[in-house]
Symmetry: C2
DNA sequence: AAGGTACATGGTAACTATTATTATGTCAAT
DNA sequence: ATTGACATAATAATAGTTACCATGTACCTT
């Protein structure tokens, strides 16, 4: 009645690609690599097998910070360090001497089965980038917001681009099909994205980032 | 040009409820609690404010294992222990004496900004449950699968419920509108959920869990 | 060897957790 | 009294992951 594990071709490729990575890849990073060898493989197959293989103890599923799960081919006990900027994960070896244990009286009634140690900081690559771009760090780090424009936002931004000087929201409302209330709502969003600046109270102008976003 | 933080009623309630919790709640656990005081509050408001409050330094956003973010009202330096079964999170105090530091030569070029220590195991509550139910542990731990039936699954299960003795997949196919291939596919899924058992090869019967799932 | 089941796959729909969008509301400062 | 900064509720959109199911393949019995 043992659960039987069949070593299929897909599984072999997934395992061997994971073995070649020293980067603790996420499921879809691995999917991209595997797809080069097996172009017809499904993303679901990669997910399914990573799960099955880790349950079988052939690989290890990492519990690390960040939204995506990561997988590790190295089964030996070791800890990790990750980059808060690009989310890359590297190995750290604490050489066993510093392994922590938790006195029973402090374990709050838990049956403790282990301990995870994780350092975090900036990886070598991201340190260089950070030094170059002192400004605009927050914008850079944002994953989805900041890029892309809705139809209304684009309309307002295009109207602003045509103005030579800074103008008020009513001027823009007149230049577009939108109502004044809608305009101010869009301007708020555009300012948040850095596409619009307000040189004076009630006056707005497009920024260079805003012009870039229009093209 | 300072960003101004307005202390609204919603914000007050979110903060005070978080203060009362000693459980490091997730956003929607907190939402459920806040909703009792402010029934019209939006889940998005809770998410937004937890984000804003943690950026302002009034609360702390935790990076812990598990898929959901958790929030902590206690700003002091402390570590955590979490339950691998129910994902509850408790505080652990290592008394500072064991704080780790990473020698520069071992940091792989990272600019290290900190370290997280996290114990894991079974919480007191889950230890008791585990002792009672030696079998079926895996089924218990599963989050979404195991509950719920698709239309086809329900049809097969109802047909099985009408049989007095264990019967083969062809008998079931005859009793339903489904083809034999479809039936065996559904039986596989139902077995995985524990709703169907196979007392003998090629013979299936509904389990008590299966009967419960039908009602 | 044949038959039949257990296990696997690909494609896609559905799900969970989170974030963005937007109309509207509220407050403070001109 | 306006105007704009900040907030909210409701909902759509998104990312990551998992479930569903038709179909394919490997492994046991007989």
């Amino acid at each position: 009645m043992e659960k039987q594990l069949r070593m299929t071709h897909q599984r072999e490729v997934i395992l061997s690609e994971l073995g070649k990575c020293h980067t603790h890849p996420t499921a879809d990073e691995l999917y991209e690599r595997v797809k080069k060898k097996l172009p017809r493989i499904s993303l679901a197959t990669v997910y399914r097998n990573l799960e099955i293989l880790s349950e079988a103890g052939l690989i290890r599923k990492l519990e690390v910070s960040g939204r995506q799960k990561r997988f590790d081919w190295d089964l030996r006990q070791h800890d990790h360090i990750y980059c808060v900027h690009c989310h890359r994960v590297d190995n750290i070896d604490l050489k066993g001497k510093k392994r922590l244990s938790l006195p029973a009286r402090e374990s709050k009634g838990y049956e403790v089965s282990g301990c995870r140690i994780e350092f975090f900081g900036l990886c070598p690559g991201c340190r260089k980038i950070q030094q170059k771009t002192r400004k605009g760090e927050e914008k850079m780090g944002c994953k989805t917001c900041g890029t892309g424009l809705s139809d209304k936002q684009r309309e307002v931004l295009e109207a602003l681009a045509k103005c030579k000087d800074a103008c008020g929201s009513k001027d823009i409302a007149a230049a577009t099909s939108l109502e004044p209330k809608q305009v101010s709502c869009q301007i708020t969003a555009l300012k948040k994205k850095g596409y619009v600046a307000s040189p004076a109270r009630c006056k707005y102008e497009i920024t260079s980032e805003g012009k870039a976003a229009l093209s």
